[in-house]
C-alpha cells in the first residue's frame, strides 16, 4: 500500500495551485474570500478563465476537447479548487448534460452543443424535479406530445437551480404513459427563450434567489432536440448520476472551512468549540481517506458503485456541521443575519464578520442533504446495493 501521490500527480497539483494563484480571476477571488455573493457575470468570468486554460472539460475525454484526466487528477483538481475557496463549478452543462450528449447524442448535437459548453457560452440548468416528483423522480408528469417535427411540452419543473440565468434546460419529460413509469421518459434539450416558458423565483430560507419554478405552456421543441431514443430518458438520467460520483463530498471546500474555523476558534478560548472542531477534523479525515480508497479502487480497475453514497451522505453532513460551528462560534452575534441584501442604509452592527456569513451558509447548506438524491435515498441505496437487504 502507498497512500502518496505519484510524482506526476504532485506535479499536476502544483500546476493547479499555480493557476489558482495567478489566473483565478482576482475580482471573483476578492468576493469569495469575503463571503460576498457572486453575480452571474462573475460566474461567467470564472468559468471562461477555466475554459481559456483548457480545463473546462475537466472530466471529459480528450476526443471532445476535454482534459482526459485520471480520477486522481480530477480529485486533486476538485480539492485544490475547494481549498482555494472557488465557487463550486456549475455542473449542469459540463458534467451533467455533456456526458449524455457525447454518449447518446448524434453528431449534429455533439457539434452544436459541446463546444459552447466547453467555452461556457451557454448556461445550462437541470429540469428534473417537479412539484409531485422529487425523490420519486420517475413519476414525473411534464408531457411532451409529438406534433409533426416538434414536441409540444406542457407541465412544470421546480427547484430548478439558477434557471433565471440559463440559456438552455435539459428536461426529463413524459412521452408515453402506457407502460411502467420508468419507461416513457425522454431526454429533451430546450432553449429557454422558447415562447411558453415562464420562470418564477423561489426564495430560500437564506433569503437568496437560487432556485425557480419553470412552467411550460404549449412549448414547441424541435424533434432534433431529443437526445438518444424516445422513451430511454430514464436510462440516460441514471447514467448521468453515475457521472457525478466524485467531488460530491465537497472535500476541498470543507477543508478550507475547517481551517478558517480552527483559526477563529483558537482566539476564543472556548474548549467546547475546540473539541467540536477537533471531532469534525477527525471525521473529515475519515471522509477524505474513504474517497481516496474509492479512487484507488477505480484506478485499479474496480467499480465502486453504491459506496460513493457514503461520500454524499458524510460529505454533506460535514458541510452542514462546519457551518453550524461557525454559527456557534459567533455566539449572540449569530442573530445578525441581514439576508443577501445586506444591512441596507444602516451601518453594519458590530460583531465578527463570520457571524452573518456562517449563518447564511448554515441556512443555505440545508439543501445539500436534500438534493442530488436526498441522504435518506442514499441510505436506501446503500442498504439495497451494498448491504444487500
Amino acid at each position: 500500500m502507498d497512500i502518496n501521490f505519484s510524482k506526476e500527480d504532485i506535479a499536476f497539483r502544483q500546476e493547479v495551485k499555480d493557476w489558482l494563484a495567478n489566473d483565478y480571476p482576482k475580482h471573483v477571488k476578492e468576493k469569495t474570500d469575503n463571503g460576498i455573493a457572486l453575480t452571474k457575470q462573475d460566474m461567467i468570468d470564472f468559468h471562461k478563465a477555466l475554459s481559456k486554460k483548457g480545463w473546462m472539460g475537466y472530466n471529459w475525454p480528450v476526443e471532445y476537447g476535454g482534459t482526459g484526466w485520471s480520477s486522481t487528477q480530477l480529485y486533486i483538481f476538485n480539492k485544490e479548487f475547494g481549498l482555494a475557496g472557488c465557487p463550486p463549478l456549475l455542473a449542469f452543462g459540463v458534467s451533467m448534460v455533456a456526458p449524455v450528449i457525447w454518449t447518446f447524442g448524434n453528431d449534429e448535437q455533439k457539434n452544436r452543443f459541446l463546444p459552447d459548453i466547453l467555452e461556457f457560452n451557454t448556461w445550462w440548468c437541470q429540469g428534473y424535479s417537479e412539484p409531485g416528483s422529487g425523490s420519486d423522480l420517475a413519476s414525473l408528469k411534464t408531457k411532451a406530445v409529438r406534433d409533426g417535427d416538434n414536441y409540444i411540452v406542457n407541465g412544470s419543473k421546480t427547484w430548478t437551480t439558477l434557471a433565471q440565468n440559463a440559456d438552455w434546460i435539459f428536461c426529463l419529460v413524459r412521452t408515453d404513459n402506457s407502460g411502467i413509469k420508468q419507461e416513457g421518459i425522454s431526454f429533451l434539450l430546450i432553449d429557454m427563450k422558447t415562447p411558453g416558458i415562464e420562470v418564477k423565483p423561489i426564495i430560500t430560507i437564506d433569503g437568496e434567489h437560487e432556485v425557480n419554478s419553470v412552467f411550460f405552456t404549449d412549448v414547441k421543441v424541435p424533434v432534433e432536440n431529443l437526445v438518444g431514443e424516445e422513451g430511454k430518458g430514464w436510462t440516460y438520467a441514471k447514467f448521468l448520476l453515475a457521472h457525478e460520483r466524485f467531488g460530491i463530498a465537497g472535500l476541498g471546500a470543507s477543508l478550507r472551512s475547517l481551517n478558517r474555523l480552527k483559526n477563529i476558534i483558537s482566539k476564543l478560548n472556548n474548549p467546547d468549540l475546540e473539541r467540536k472542531a477537533n471531532e469534525l477534523e477527525v471525521s473529515l479525515s475519515a471522509i477524505e481517506i474513504t474517497e481516496l480508497r474509492l479512487l484507488s479502487a477505480l484506478e485499479n480497475g474496480g467499480h465502486p458503485g453504491a459506496e460513493s453514497s457514503i461520500l454524499k451522505i458524510k460529505g454533506t453532513e460535514m458541510q452542514q456541521n462546519l457551518s453550524e460551528l461557525f454559527v456557534e462560534a459567533a455566539g449572540e452575534y449569530a442573530l445578525m443575519y441581514p439576508g443577501p441584501h445586506g444591512y441596507g442604509s444602516n451601518d453594519k452592527p458590530s460583531g465578527p464578520d463570520y457571524a452573518a456569513e456562517g449563518l447564511s451558509s448554515f441556512l443555505n447548506l440545508r439543501k445539500t442533504s436534500i438534493y442530488g438524491g436526498s441522504n435518506e435515498i442514499q441510505k436506501n441505496i446503500l442498504a439495497k446495493f451494498v448491504l444487500g437487504v
Binding site: 422529487g134 413519476s139 430560507i205 455566539g331 452592527p349 436526498s374
Partner: protein, 364 residues
C-alpha cells in the same frame, strides 16, 4: 403532586391559541416583519385589551399578578405561531425588571406598558463581552455623563425609554433614559428570525440622578433575575416551536406522496418523527420543572433554567433541522413556515447564552 395546568391556565392557553389562529397566521407575520415598525400596532392594542401586557406585573404595580407559569404558556403558544411582537423586550425584559425594582416612577411606566402606549427596551449586552452581562464597558462618570455602546437591544427602534446597564465608580448600575436624549444614536437591523434589534451608542449623554433604577447588588440581582425569566420565556417559546416542528412534519409527511404512498409510511421517517416527538416531550418536562422553580423563586431556579436552556438549545435545533429535512425542498422554501422554526431556534439558542454556556452554568 399535580403536574396539570389549572382551569384558568388552560383557558389562557386557549385564548392565546385562538388569537394566533384567527389574527396571526404566517402571512400576517410576514407583513409584520416587512412593516416599518416590525410589530403591529393593532395587535399590540389587542394584547393590551386582553390583559396580556400586564399579566406578569404585581398587583401593587397594577398588574394581573401572574407568574412564570402563565408567561411560559404565552410564550409556548407564541412559539408555535412564531409571533414576532416585542413582548419579550417590552414586557419581560423591561417591564418585569421595573416591577421588581424600587424605582420611584415605576408605577407610571408599568401602566404605560400595560396599556400598550409605551415600549421600553433593555440594553444589557455589549460587543466582545459575550454572555457576561455584569461588567459592561459603558460607564457613567462622576458628572453623570454616559458613554458606551449596547448591542442586540431588542425592539430598540420602538423604545421610548431605554434601561441601560453601566458602571459608575466600579459599581454596577441600571439607569433609564429617554431614547431621544441628545447623544443617543440608534442603528437598527433585523435578526435572523425577523425581530427588530438595535445597536445603541451613547456619546456624552447627560443623565441625571433620578434616572438610576438600581445600583450595586440590587442592580445585579435585578438583572440576573430578569434575564433568568427571559431565558425561561424564550425556552418556552422553543418548546412551542419543537411541538410545531414535530406536528407540522407529521401532517406534511402524511399528505406528501412519493413512490405511490404517503412518505409517512417509510419507517425511517416514522422513527425520526418519533424522536422529534420524544424530544419535544422531554423539553416540556424540563420547562415545567424550571417554571415551577422560578415560580417559587427557589435557590435552585438558575440551575433549572440553565438545564432547560441547554436542552432546548441542542434538541430544539435538531428538531428544526429534522423538520426541514423531512419536508425536502419545501423545508428550505422561505414561503413555508417550517424553515422559519429553524431560524427561530438559531436565534433562541444564541440569545442569553447558548447550549454549551448553559450546560456549564448548570454544572457549576
Amino acid at each position: 403532586m399535580n403536574l396539570d395546568y389549572n382551569e384558568e391556565q388552560i383557558m389562557l392557553r386557549e385564548q392565546i391559541q385562538k388569537f394566533c389562529e384567527s389574527e396571526y397566521d404566517f402571512y400576517k407575520r410576514e407583513e409584520v416583519i416587512k412593516s416599518d415598525k416590525h410589530f403591529d400596532v393593532e395587535v399590540w392594542k389587542l394584547f393590551a385589551d386582553q390583559g396580556w401586557l400586564s399579566m406578569p406585573f404585581s398587583e401593587e404595580s397594577g398588574g394581573l399578578g401572574f407568574g412564570p407559569i402563565e408567561l411560559s404558556i404565552l410564550f409556548e403558544e407564541f412559539g408555535k405561531a412564531l409571533v414576532i411582537e416585542p413582548y419579550l423586550a417590552t414586557v419581560v425584559l423591561s417591564g418585569t425588571l421595573l416591577d421588581k425594582s424600587t424605582y420611584a416612577e415605576k408605577i407610571d411606566l408599568i401602566d404605560k406598558i400595560s396599556s400598550g402606549d409605551m415600549h421600553i427596551s433593555l440594553g444589557y449586552a455589549e460587543a466582545d463581552k459575550g454572555y457576561d452581562y455584569l461588567s459592561p464597558s459603558t460607564s457613567l462618570d462622576s458628572d453623570n455623563i454616559l458613554n458606551g455602546t449596547k448591542t442586540l437591544v431588542l425592539n430598540g427602534s420602538n423604545a421610548k425609554k431605554l434601561i441601560i446597564s453601566c458602571m459608575k465608580n466600579n459599581e454596577f448600575n441600571l439607569i433609564i433614559l429617554d431614547s431621544d436624549t441628545d447623544g443617543v444614536s440608534i442603528n437598527s437591523f433585523l435578526t435572523v428570525d425577523g425581530q427588530s434589534c438595535s445597536e445603541i451608542s451613547f456619546e456624552n449623554v447627560v443623565v441625571n440622578d433620578v434616572n438610576i433604577v438600581a445600583s450595586g447588588d440590587e442592580a445585579i440581582n435585578l438583572l440576573n433575575e430578569t434575564i433568568n425569566l427571559a431565558v425561561l420565556c424564550v425556552s418556552a417559546e422553543a418548546v412551542g416551536c419543537m411541538e410545531s416542528c414535530y406536528f407540522k412534519t407529521l401532517e406534511y409527511t402524511k399528505g406528501r406522496e412519493q413512490f405511490g404512498q404517503p412518505i409517512s409510511n417509510f419507517q425511517v421517517l416514522q422513527h425520526r418523527m418519533v424522536d422529534m416527538f420524544i424530544e419535544s416531550e422531554l423539553a416540556k418536562s424540563l420547562l415545567i420543572k424550571a417554571m415551577l422553580e422560578v415560580n417559587d423563586n427557589s435557590e435552585d431556579m438558575y440551575r433549572h433554567v440553565s438545564a432547560l436552556k441547554s436542552y432546548i438549545g441542542k434538541s430544539g435545533k435538531l428538531s428544526a433541522k429534522e423538520a426541514v429535512q423531512l419536508h425536502g425542498g419545501m423545508g428550505v422554501s422561505e414561503e413555508m413556515m417550517i424553515g422559519h422554526y429553524l431560524k427561530k431556534m438559531i436565534s433562541i439558542d444564541a440569545l442569553f447564552g447558548n447550549a454549551d454556556y448553559h450546560l456549564k452554568k448548570f454544572a457549576s
